[in-house]
């Protein structure tokens, strides 16, 4: 692994830490808006994990992670859409 790959891994992990910190902070708002904030952070974390998988696949040469990244992209989109829909419409 070269120095540029190490720097890329470090940047992605720092980004993961920042998104996680946004997810767990600010507990004093009205709860629907707070949940939306957390959904934004979780969406970013899913995109970041897709990026980490692809970087790992390129570094180690294991091409299986491309399939996992495709599946994760599907599931993350479904999760975000479901959260947004039910937070907009309520219990109806």
């Amino acid at each position: 692994m070269t120095i540029l790959n190490m720097l890329s891994f470090g940047l992605l992990i720092a980004a993961f830490v920042l998104a996680f910190a946004r997810m767990i902070r600010d507990p004093r708002r009205e709860h629907r808006i707070l949940a939306l904030d957390r959904v934004v952070a979780v969406d970013l974390m899913s995109t970041l994990s897709i990026g980490l998988m692809i970087l790992y696949a390129a570094v180690t040469g294991q091409t299986v992670f491309f399939d996992v990244a495709i599946t994760l992209a599907f599931i993350a989109f479904l999760g975000t859409t479901a959260f947004a829909r039910y937070l907009e419409k309520g219990k109806k």
């Binding site: 790959n5 890329s8 720092a14 939306l36 091409t63 495709i70 907009e88």
Partner: protein, 134 residues
């Protein structure tokens, strides 16, 4: 591993870090959505093209193209749904925000544009279903 793919992947990782920094630091949920959607999808584009250049086989390149197309198609949809939910939940905007073009244009109960409902009644399947629910 050649240098071009490393540089491409580093650019992608940098843009994803910028997206996370924006999500962490921006004062307002709409600004956070903006940072999340644009910068993170741009970072995914560079990361995936760097990895595809590294392998350079037809199966891997097709998978990379599928990932990029899928993320570029779904990220705006997800961001639009989140922003709409935040707008109807009356999420507070940053104190320096100057204008809100959508103010008083939405019906607060049906979540549809008020001007459309005055002129003609929509008869799509969705509105019929909503009326049955009421």
């Amino acid at each position: 591993m050649n240098l071009l793919s490393e540089i491409l992947m580093f650019i992608g990782a940098f843009f994803m870090f910028v997206a996370a920094l924006g999500v962490f630091r921006m004062p307002d949920i709409y600004m956070r959505l903006h940072a999340n959607t644009k910068s993170a999808t741009f970072g995914v584009l560079f990361l995936v093209s760097g990895a595809a250049w590294h392998f350079w086989e037809i199966a891997i390149v097709m998978r990379a193209i599928i990932i990029v197309i899928f993320i570029f198609a779904t990220a705006p949809v997800a961001a639009h749904m989140l922003g709409r939910a935040a707008y109807f939940a009356k999420a507070p905007v940053w104190k320096g925000t100057l204008s809100d073009d959508m103010k008083d244009k939405y019906d607060p109960k049906t979540h549809e544009l008020a001007g459309i409902q005055k002129n003609h009644k929509p008869t799509t399947a969705k509105s019929k279903r909503d009326k049955q629910d009421d």
